[in-house]
Each structure stands twice: as structure tokens, then as C-alpha cells.
């Protein structure tokens, strides 16, 4: 370390570095060892050790003054680019979070992937991902940030396409990478704008409390920094680029469609990367560059976040693929976080990031466990069905109690019922959204209201998911009576991580007071904004209204899915078999609630598929078309010009030799004509 840091800080730095480096060592070892079961242990031990270091760093650094340690990396022109780490609350929190999520997932994976041919490859990739992710959170400059930002995407690419012989997986990873690349380009442009304005890549210099960004202003269409002034449009462009990056990584509208497709990867990967860590990187980025955004840009963030949240939730309602439901849910929750950033609820947003990481990861692990069993059934009975379809499941709560319980805890956290972590974080966002809207024009009320509706939709789909999977009867055996069913909870490698994560979904981990999000330690450490005096009525009304209605929704769902056992969608032919009252309820439910929502949902889904994806396909086609066109231009115009020149040269040559008739008198005549022509020319001039 170049700077002289106090010994304490120096060790902290080394610990942090060790935490980053260990996974890459594991990666290297696995990479060169090739096949072998040892890979799982190597990676897991590495991540375990990393977790320990991360915890130490966290302990030492949480709420302590930030540490910024650098070594010179290279010098380009007049700019010395340093490599270093920046440890503040944000980074150490994420450092710990990633590890705490990654460790259970590693353990889980050892069981989950144990029969896969690519076992060691899997852990190689996984370690690489951990390395990239951990490095991403601690690095101190934009170049490195971009580097790891993209490496995270790359490892995600590798993991989504882990089963590379499956066409869908390969399509999905390509899509994911390219969409992320769009975001990367945005980020790159943003970085370049910042660099050209501030001539540095250093995050601390740029974004610290009294950093360069904080001291520059946007006035009269100009972006003024101490040394240079450029048109404000570049500031907008930087923000747009950053937003694009966030949208791509955190699957925000309109770049969200890769995430559902990314579910083609192993479930454990989805749990780690596409639920808890990588997708949160966008939020992390927002947290890092927060000072850059002006008020209007934040408003735009809020709107888009809110819209994404609502849209994804409404889509999640009707999905039947277990992992897709969770994927849309993730998009929705990320939307919450982005919106929270937009409304200035910086602390809540990060808080939600943390809590969400736990419960969503847990949900995926649960899903993985269930799918694992379903696959087992499929293979054992030599059937052909989609093991991820929740319509085939049901009643698993007795077969898989631990899984069930953890699922319920995670689900409740996701819904945001009291005593869970989700309650704490989500509540805060909602309350602050209402408070924020008070300061804005009336139209902005839509945002908190839409958020509220989204919460209820969340409650519904979570309930639907849990009921479909764990309640009622096992629907597959109704269709195939002779089904061999050896369904049970997974091995300890499944259970221990799940239980651990379930514990993390409960309130004591974050706040001793289960009802007041302001008391959460994470929240407190992130300098909450000032307008949250518990004076206003939102703080009472919203939690109560929200939770009561949520419970109501869950009950509806219970009514529909457990008591009814029939999908409300196909009600007409099945209704008479059930009680009138229930039918009436269903009818009402259909008419009043489900159908409109479903309509919106299908509409939005269609929009998602046809509209956004269609648009992307359209762009894709346009690009391909342009590519073909330019290839044609290349062949026919550019090369054609060349061939034309060659033909021209040959024709001139042909003309020149056309005089060469072989007749000597003709030659003489030509010569004489030339001379006489010269004489006449001479006379005329």
C-alpha cells in the first residue's frame, strides 16, 4: 500500500483483499485441476474463509471512517490510474452480504450439482463469480468498477449457459450478455463523460461527500466543474448511461427480459446471482454514484422503478414456472429498490437490498429443492414433464417439512408481514414513498399507490406459489395414479443453508424492534433522510392497511388455490362441483379482481413478450438487416467500385491497343494524324 495507513486500517485492507483474492485462487486451482469432486470443497472452503475475513472487515469497518488504499496501477498520459480498495459502509456491507449469501449457496450447490458432469466446472465458474462480485464492491475507481461489473456479467453468462448443450440456455446466456452489454456501454459512456469532465476515475474523489461531483453544478444548461465546463447534456448522458447500466444489471424496464430467461441456469446459480447478488449490483452502483443524480433524474428513477415493480408483480401472478415466478418477483423487488433510490430513500433501498437478498435467495433454494425432487420423480418414473411447473406440484408440505417452513418464512418476508425482515425494509420504502409524494405534484401520488398495489400483488403471487406447491394434493399423481413418489427433504447440504437463510429472514437479525424500520441498524448507518419524523400518519396507517390487506389477499389466494384446488382461470366447467358460496367467491374474485388483473397481467406479459422483447427482436432484426445491407454494400459498392476501376483500366488499355491492328500503314496514318493534329492545334492556339 502506497499510502501510509494506520496499522489497524492496513490489516483491514489486507483482510478485505484476502477476501477478494481467495475465490480467485479457488478459481485458479479448480481451473487447472479440471475434473474432480474436490472442486466443490475447494470453492466452499475458500468462500468460507472469505466470509470470515469479510466478517472481520465488516466488524472493524462498519460505521468507521472510510479506508481508501491504493497502489499505482498504470499511468496513461497525465492520468495516474490507481488500483485500490475503498471500504466504507456500503462496500463492507455488500462484502459481507455477498459472502453470507454465497457460503450457503456453495454448500447447497455441492449437493445440488453433485450428479452433474460439470461439477468442477460449476464451482470454477462460481468462484470466479464470487471473486468478481466481491471485487466489484470493494474497488475504488471507475475503471476497475467497470471491469468487475462486466466480469460479473461474464460469469453470469457462463453460469446461465452452464448446460451449454441446451439451446435455450445458450440463447438465454447470449441474450443476458448482450443486454448487459447495452448496460455496459451505458456505463462506459458515463465513465468517459465523468473522466472527460473530472479527469479522474477515483470513486472517492468523485463521489465522496465533498467530492468533485458534489461541488459541481448544473446551471443554465452548463455543467460546471471547478476546472472545466461542458454542456449539461453530458451530465444527462452520464446519468442516462448509468441508468442503462443499472437497468441492465438489475433488470429494470426496459432491459429486464433477460432475467426470466436466465433461469435456464442451475437453480443454485439463480439463487446466488440472479436473486441476491449480481442483480443487486445495479442498486449498489446507484448507491456509489448517488450524488451525481439531480432531482429530476431521481424522479425518473422512481417512476421507472415503480413501473417495473408493478409490471413484474402483475406478471408473476399468472406464471406457472416456479423459477419464472421468482424471477419476476425479483424484478419487481429490484424495482422497489430503484424506486426507493429515486425517492431519496437511500437507506431503505440498501436495507431492502440486504433483506431481499436473504429471502429471495432462500426462495430460490427452496425452489431448487423442490425442482430437484420433481426431477427425481421424473427420472424415476421416466415421465416427460416440466419439473418446474407448479401445476404439477402440490401438497409437498408433508413430504418436505423443512423446505416448507423455510419457504413460508421467506414468503412472508417477501410479502412483508410483520416479524420478518421484509416488513422492516418494505415498510420503510412505502412510507417514504408517501412522504415523498407529499412534496411533489399530485400526479406523483400514483407512485406510492402503485407501490401499494404491487405489494398486494406480491402477497397474492407468493401465496399462490406456496399454496400451489405445498398445499392440496400432489397433482401429478392425480393424473398418473401409479406414480412412484419418493419425495423428501434434501440432505443436510440443502437444509442447513436454507435454515440459516430462513433465520436471516427474521426481524431480530436486523432490528430488535419488529415494527419500526427506523431502528434497523443497517438503516441507521446510512444517514437516513430528514423528513421521516414519526409525526405523520403514514407511519401508522400504511403498515396497518398494507398488512391487513395483504393478509386478505393471502386468504383469497388460499381460498382459490387450496380450498378450491382449481385454477380460477378455468372456472366455468368446474364450478358446480364445489360449494355455491365458494363459487360465488370465485366468481366475484374473477370479476372484480382476478380478471382485470389477469387482463392487465396477460396484457403486460404480452407486451413484455411482444412489445419489449418484440422491440428487441425488432432491433435485432434491424441490426441484422443493417449488417446484411452493409455486407452487400461492401460487396457491391465498395468492392464494386474497385472492380469498376479495374474494368476502367482494362478498357483504357483496350482502347490503347485497338490501334495495334498489325497493319503498318495504319500505324503510319495514326502517327501522321497525331502530328498534323499537333500542327493544327499549334496554328489554332
Amino acid at each position: 500500500m502506497a499510502q501510509t495507513l494506520p496499522y489497524q486500517q492496513l490489516t483491514t485492507c489486507y483482510y478485505a483483499l484476502t477476501a477478494v483474492v481467495l475465490p480467485v485462487l479457488a478459481f485458479a486451482v479448480n481451473f487447472f485441476l479440471k475434473k474432480g469432486k474436490a472442486a466443490g470443497w475447494i470453492s466452499t472452503i475458500a468462500i468460507g474463509a472469505t466470509t470470515v475475513f469479510a466478517a472481520i472487515v465488516f466488524k472493524q469497518q462498519w460505521n468507521a471512517p472510510l479506508i481508501h488504499a491504493t497502489i499505482p496501477w498504470f499511468t496513461i498520459g497525465g492520468t495516474a490510474v490507481n488500483a485500490g480498495i475503498l471500504l466504507n459502509n456500503l462496500s463492507v456491507l455488500l462484502l459481507l452480504l455477498v459472502n453470507v449469501i454465497a457460503l450457503p449457496v456453495h454448500i447447497y450447490s455441492m449437493a445440488y450439482m453433485s450428479h452433474d458432469e460439470g461439477f468442477s466446472r460449476y464451482f470454477t465458474y462460481l468462484s470466479f463469480f464470487c471473486f468478481s462480485m466481491l471485487a466489484l464492491v470493494v474497488v475504488d475507481n471507475l475503471v476497475l468498477f467497470y471491469a468487475f461489473w462486466e466480469l460479473v456479467g461474464f460469469s453470469s453468462y457462463l453460469l446461465i449457459g452452464f448446460w451449454f448443450t441446451r439451446d435455450k440456455a445458450v440463447q438465454a446466456n447470449k441474450k443476458a450478455f448482450i443486454m448487459n452489454r447495452i448496460g455496459d456501454v451505458g456505463l462506459l459512456i458515463a465513465i468517459m463523460v465523468l473522466f472527460s469532465q473530472y479527469h479522474t476515475f477515483d470513486l472517492n474523489a468523485l463521489f465522496s461527500a465533498d467530492g468533485l461531483v458534489a461541488n459541481s453544478t448544473l446551471t443554465n444548461g452548463l455543467w460546471i466543474n471547478g476546472t472545466s465546463t461542458i454542456p449539461a447534456v453530458w451530465q444527462y448522458l452520464a446519468c442516462a448511461g448509468l441508468f442503462l447500466a443499472v437497468a441492465a444489471k438489475s433488470a429494470q424496464f426496459p432491459l429486464h427480459t433477460w432475467l426470466p430467461d436466465a433461469m435456464e441456469g442451475p437453480t443454485s446459480v439463480s439463487a446466488l446471482i440472479h436473486a441476491a447478488t449480481m442483480v443487486a449490483a445495479g442498486i449498489f452502483l446507484l448507491g456509489r454514484v448517488y450524488p451525481l443524480f439531480s432531482v429530476h433524474e431521481l424522479d425518473a428513477l422512481a417512476i421507472i422503478g415503480c413501473f417495473t415493480a408493478f409490471m413484474a408483480a402483475s406478471i408473476a401472478i399468472t406464471q406457472n414456472d416456479l423459477k419464472r415466478i421468482l424471477a419476476f418477483s425479483t424484478i419487481s423487488q429490484l424495482g422497489f429498490m430503484v424506486m426507493a433510490m429515486g425517492i431519496g430513500a437511500y437507506a431503505s433501498s440498501l436495507f431492502h437490498l440486504v433483506t431481499h437478498a436473504f429471502f429471495k435467495c432462500l426462495l430460490f433454494l427452496v425452489a431448487g429443492a423442490v425442482i430437484h425432487e420433481m426431477q427425481h420423480i421424473r427420472d424415476e418414473n421416466k415421465l416427460d414433464f416440466d419439473p418446474q411447473n407448479i401445476l404439477y406440484m402440490g401438497g409437498l408440505r408433508r413430504k418436505m417439512p423443512i423446505t416448507f417452513i423455510t419457504a413460508v418464512i421467506a414468503g412472508l418476508a417477501l410479502v412483508g408481514l410483520p416479524f420478518t425482515s421484509g416488513y422492516l425494509s418494505k415498510d420503510g420504502i412505502l412510507i417514504q414513498a408517501f412522504e415523498w409524494s407529499d412534496t411533489k405534484a399530485g400526479v406523483f401520488k400514483i407512485i406510492p399507490i402503485l407501490t401499494l398495489i404491487t405489494s398486494w400483488l406480491t402477497a397474492f403471487y407468493v401465496a399462490r406459489l406456496v399454496f400451489k406447491v405445498f398445499f392440496g394434493k400432489f397433482r401429478l399423481s392425480e393424473v398418473n395414479p401409479g406414480l412412484k413418489l419418493h419425495v423428501h427433504d434434501g440432505p443436510w447440504k440443502f437444509n442447513v443453508p436454507m435454515i440459516f437463510l430462513a433465520i436471516c429472514c427474521l426481524f431480530p437479525v436486523f432490528s430488535l424492534n419488529p415494527f419500526l424500520y427506523e431502528h434497523a441498524w443497517i438503516y441507521k448507518s446510512f444517514l437516513p433522510s430528514n423528513f421521516l419524523e414519526r409525526m405523520n400518519p403514514y407511519h401508522t396507517i400504511i403498515p396497518i392497511a398494507l398488512n391487513i390487506l395483504s393478509l386478505l389477499v393471502i386468504y383469497w389466494a388460499y381460498a382459490v388455490y387450496v380450498l378450491d384446488k382449481k385454477l380460477p382461470l378455468k372456472q366455468n366447467n368446474w364450478l358446480f362441483a364445489f360449494s355455491y358460496y365458494q363459487w360465488y367467491f370465485n366468481e366475484a374474485y374473477q370479476k372484480v379482481f382476478v380478471q382485470p388483473v389477469l387482463a392487465i397481467s396477460t396484457g403486460l406479459f404480452a407486451f413484455d413478450r411482444k412489445g419489449i422483447d418484440g422491440l428487441i427482436h425488432f432491433f435485432n432484426r434491424i441490426i441484422l438487416w443493417v449488417a446484411k445491407l452493409s455486407a452487400a454494400i461492401d460487396r457491391y459498392v465498395v468492392d464494386g467500385f474497385l472492380h469498376f476501376v479495374v474494368a476502367l483500366v482494362r478498357q483504357i488499355g483496350n482502347f490503347a491497343r485497338s490501334f495495334q491492328t498489325g497493319r503498318v500503314q495504319y500505324y503510319l496514318l495514326t502517327t501522321v494524324v497525331a502530328i498534323v493534329a499537333w500542327v493544327i492545334l499549334k496554328i489554332l492556339i
Binding site: 499505482p72 496501477w73 498504470f74 499511468t75 496513461i76 498520459g77 497525465g78 492520468t79 475503471v143 467497470y146 471491469a147 468487475f148 461489473w149 462486466e150 466480469l151 461474464f154 449457459g161 451449454f164 448443450t165 441446451r166 439451446d167 445458450v170 440463447q171 447470449k174 450478455f177 448482450i178 452489454r181 447495452i182 455496459d184 456501454v185 462506459l188 459512456i189 465513465i191 468517459m192 463523460v193 473522466f195 472527460s196 469532465q197 479527469h199 472545466s228 461542458i230 453530458w234 448522458l237 441490426i623 441484422l624 443493417v626 449488417a627 446484411k628 452493409s630 455486407a631 461492401d634 465498395v638 468492392d639 467500385f641 474497385l642
Partner: protein
């Protein structure tokens, strides 16, 4: 013995040795060539290690700051009226050239290894190869324009034959196209060279001189000479210096190649045998970029700065156009050839910015592309030698059949598309950063160019990933069926030995770009400083 001279002429020596050896020893030719290449690598590494940095060793426009200089009087023709024709054997390097030398030396080795696949006319092949080898190093080290031009042209003929004799089915067309294209550029370069020679006088001897460094000093120009900045001469109504610059630029742009002067490249690459493709993409394209920096920008900084907008525009067009064309290809080699066009566009964009970041990025991109394109072409050669087919649609699921091969392909592809951790990322990022910064610092390039250039990165991901998906992933399905399956064995130790160093270098430079930047920084800064005074 001067290291640089040794470096340049060792291949010639080896070529002579091969020339006099009887054909019965033809098996040993490749080993001799390999040995030569290894010696060259050792020498170039020695040079690299002994290369001094610091503001007093920046070079560029200061003749005394060049290193490993050897200057011998060579041609002194008494021409009567206008004094002696003064041509020196003058070689030396500064930051701009040193990294390119090391890169070239390594790529040479890879090309020699790739030459194992050559089975016919070994003697001719290796002699031509070695002549080419010599010319390449000569070009990078020559500081006398005449010498530079000599080496520059000396590359044409060996390449013509290498493509023409050992190439694919349309080799005649490709080789003649290549030759004519390049010659077109270089003949006009000759005219400008002569014009420069007659405009510049060596202040010491008073003779006209071909010394490139002296051509950079406006004080050395004869008052009233064509290219004197003060005399404001015109050629066909255009400012003479601008004409000179444009002509030189076109000559080098053909080499780079810059759209729309690129169409020789896909044909040449597709038809060339693998080692020649490697050399072509890995080394020869760099000569274009090197020439633009050293010659165009060095000798005509005023014109270069004036026309930087157009240079940048051409760079951006190359980036996008090359990438789009790559997307439309189904021949793997052609795809990679077009990707070269796209990647070299970054070089031009970086240079056009005339910022330290941009030019460093451009040089880095040249070095990086040298490694990566060699790797890519080598990889194409691997498949092609096995089944003699390169059509992307004829393959599927190669990852299952050739896992190690696929690993290298993935590395090469991702490194090429600018994945951080590999050299191309640093290079492209800083080329773009330079271009971006330009608007702010010297006002030469508008920012939208950099932004458009960034789109090229995106498109790059498009075609590489598409290829990966289409060709390597999925379940194996080959056009040639079982027989192909049998021939498509995974890469062997020899192929590995070529690929690993390249991949390693790409990675090393990605992680430690200072290996390049430290050596070039002083020169780049000086160059930027030097050009800055011409910015109005």
C-alpha cells in the same frame, strides 16, 4: 553489434541459410525458422527490458532521445545541382515502437508454429516468411524514410506469394487485390516521400535528407519548398501539406485498414493460410497504425490535427461498419477479418483524438489486437486444417467435441469483445476515453463519436456471442457427419503452445497494462505535446 540491427537482419541470415540448404533437409526448415523467431523474441525482450523511460528518452521528435540507435551513412548519390542524396541506414526506437517490436516477435513465433500445417514448397515458404519477418522489424525500427519505405514495400511481395501460393481457392484474386491495393497507397506515398525529401534539409550537412525525425522539425524545411509550413504552397488548389498528409494517410489507411479501403482484407484473410493470416492481422495491420502515428502525425501534425475530425469519423465508421459486416458473415475467418476492421477502427479513433489517453489506447489496441487476432486466426486454422471448412452453419456443439479448443475460443472471443481483464478492454476503453476527452481538452472530436464507437463494443458482443452459440454450444451436429467427428480432435500440444502465450499475454496486459503504458507514456506525452501546438 546493435541489438536492433541484429533483430532486423537475423531472419535474413536464416533465410540465406535455408536458401543454400538442400531440399532433402526440408524437415529442418521450420525448426530453423522457429529458432530464428525465438532468438528474435529474446532480443526483443532484451530490448524491452533495457528500454529506458523518462522524459529524456521520449524520442518522437528528438533524434537524440531515441534508443538502440544505429546510424550509418548508406547512400550518397551525387545528383549534381541539388546536393547529395543523403540516405542513412538509421534505425532506432522510442516508446511508440518498442512494444510493437515485442508483440511482433511473439506473433512471429506463433506464426511459425502455425506454419507446421504448410506441406508444400517448404523452402520457398520459409524464405518468404523470413523476408517478411525482416521487413516487419525493419519497418518498426526505421527512422529514415527511405529505409522505412524499403521495408514497407518489401513486405508486399512475400505476402503476395505467401497468399498466392499457399492460399485457398480464390487466392489469385485475393493476393493480387491485396498487392494492388497496397501498392496504390505506397506509390503515392513515394511521391510524398520524395516531396518531403526535397523540402527538408539536414541542418548539419546541408543536404536534403530522408531522416524522418528531421522532417518533423519545421525549421528544417527549405523556405519555399512544397511542404514547408511557412510557404503555404498548394497542390491542385489544396494546401500542399494537407495533400501530403492525406496521401500518406491513405497509404497507411489501406494497411490498417480503414473503411472504405478495407475490402482487400477479408479476401486476403480468407484465402491466406493460417500463419499468413496471423501475420497479416497480428503484425501487418499494425504497420498502418504505426505509420499514421509516426509518419502522418509526426511529419504533418498541423494537417493531422486539422483533419482529425475526419480521421475520427473514419475510425467510428470502421468500428461500426466492420462490426455490422462481421454480423452478416457466415465464414468464420471472414467474420474475424471484419472484426479486425472494427477493432482497428479504435486505433484510428484513438489517434484522431490527439490526447494521451487516445494515443496510448491506440497503441495498446495495436499490441492487444496483435495478440488477439493472431489467436483468433490460429483458432480458425485449427478447425480448418481438420475438416477444411469454416462455415459457421456447418458446425454445432463443438464445445462437446473439443472442450479445450472451445475454452481458447471463449477466451479469445471474450478478450476480443473487450472483456475486462484482457488487454483489449484497456485499449478500447482508453481509445474511447481519449476520444471523449478530446472534445473537452482540445476540441478535435465531438463526443458523439466516442459514444458511437462505444456502440461498436456492443455489436462486437453480438457477433462473437452469436458465433459461440451457433458453432460451439448446443448438441453436436456437423455437416460432415461422423467423419468430421473423427477428424475434429481436440487441440494438441503444439497448438496449445502457440495459444497459451497469446492468451497469457492478452491477460497479462489486461491486468498489468502498465507493461505497455509505462514504456510508451513519455513518448505519447511528447507526441501530444508536439501536436498540441498545431491546434488552433
Amino acid at each position: 553489434m546493435n541489438l536492433l540491427t541484429l533483430l532486423i537482419f537475423i531472419p535474413l541470415l536464416a533465410g540465406l541459410v535455408i536458401a543454400v540448404m538442400p531440399s532433402s533437409l526440408r524437415g529442418s526448415f521450420k525448426y530453423i525458422t522457429l529458432l530464428t523467431a525465438v532468438i528474435q523474441l529474446v532480443l526483443s525482450v532484451l530490448i524491452y527490458l533495457n528500454f529506458k523511460t523518462g522524459a529524456t528518452h521520449a524520442g518522437v521528435v528528438h533524434e537524440d532521445q531515441f534508443q538502440f540507435v544505429q546510424k550509418l551513412p548508406w547512400i550518397r548519390l551525387n545528383l549534381g545541382g541539388v546536393g547529395d542524396l543523403q540516405i542513412d541506414y538509421f534505425v532506432g526506437i522510442d516508446g511508440v515502437s518498442v512494444t510493437l517490436l515485442v508483440m511482433s516477435a511473439l506473433v512471429m513465433i506463433v506464426a511459425v508454429i502455425a506454419s507446421w500445417e504448410i506441406k508444400t514448397n517448404l523452402k520457398g515458404y520459409f524464405i518468404l516468411f523470413l523476408i517478411l519477418d525482416m521487413a516487419v522489424f525493419g519497418v518498426f525500427s526505421a527512422l529514415d524514410f527511405f529505409l522505412f519505405y524499403l521495408f514497407y514495400e518489401l513486405m508486399l511481395l512475400p505476402l503476395y506469394f505467401l497468399i498466392g501460393m499457399w492460399g485457398g481457392p480464390r487466392r489469385e484474386y485475393a493476393s493480387i487485390k491485396f498487392f494492388l491495393y497496397t501498392l496504390f497507397g505506397s506509390v503515392f506515398m513515394l511521391l510524398v516521400m520524395v516531396g518531403l525529401y526535397l523540402s527538408v534539409k539536414d541542418p548539419v550537412t546541408g543536404n536534403h535528407t530522408f531522416n524522418i525525425i528531421q522532417m518533423m522539425n519545421p525549421a528544417n524545411y527549405d523556405a519555399g519548398s512544397v511542404f514547408s509550413a511557412l510557404s503555404h504552397q498548394t497542390i491542385l488548389g489544396m494546401p500542399a501539406r494537407m495533400v501530403g498528409f492525406v496521401v500518406l494517410f491513405i497509404a497507411f489507411a489501406i494497411k490498417v485498414p480503414v473503411v472504405p479501403l478495407h475490402t482487400w482484407l477479408p479476401d486476403a484473410h480468407v484465402e491466406a493460410p493460417t500463419p499468413v493470416s496471423i501475420l497479416l492481422a497480428g503484425v501487418l495491420l499494425k504497420i498502418g497504425g504505426y505509420g499514421i502515428i509516426r509518419i502522418c502525425a509526426g511529419i504533418f501534425p498541423d494537417a493531422a490535427v486539422q483533419s482529425s475530425y475526419w480521421l475520427g469519423l473514419l475510425g467510428v465508421i470502421s468500428i461500426l461498419y466492420g462490426a455490422l459486416n462481421a454480423l452478416a458473415q457466415r465464414d468464420l475467418k471472414r467474420l474475424i477479418a471484419y472484426s479486425s476492421v472494427s477493432h482497428m477502427g479504435f486505433v484510428l479513433l484513438g489517434i484522431a483524438s490527439f490526447t494521451a489517453e487516445g494515443i496510448s489506447g491506440a497503441i495498446m489496441q495495436m499490441v492487444s489486437h496483435g495478440f488477439l487476432s493472431s489467436m483468433l486466426f490460429f483458432l480458425v486454422g485449427v478447425v480448418y486444417t481438420r475438416v477444411h471448412d469454416r462455415d459457421i452453419y456447418n458446425f454445432r456443439g463443438l464445445a462437446t467435441l473439443m472442450p479445450s479448443y472451445t475454452l481458447f475460443v471463449v477466451i479469445a472471443f471474450f478478450a476480443s469483445l473487450g472483456l475486462p481483464g484482457f488487454s483489449a478492454f484497456v485499449a478500447e476503453a482508453f481509445s474511447l476515453a481519449g476520444a471523449f476527452k478530446s472534445a473537452n481538452t482540445n476540441g478535435l472530436l465531438p463526443q458523439w463519436m466516442a459514444a458511437c464507437g462505444a456502440l461498436g463494443i456492443l455489436l462486437g458482443a453480438g457477433y462473437f456471442l452469436w458465433t459461440l452459440q451457433r458453432m460451439f454450444f448446443g448438441t453436436p451436429l456437423l455437416k460432415g457427419g461422423e467423419s468430421w467427428k473423427l477428424s475434429l480432435t481436440d487441440i494438441n500440444w503444439r497448438e496449445r503452445s502457440a495459444l497459451i502465450p497469446l492468451a497469457f499475454m492478452a491477460l497479462l496486459l489486461g491486468v498489468m497494462p502498465s507493461l505497455v503504458f509505462n514504456k510508451i507514456n513519455d513518448s505519447v506525452l511528447l507526441l501530444v505535446d508536439f501536436t498540441r501546438q498545431f491546434i488552433k
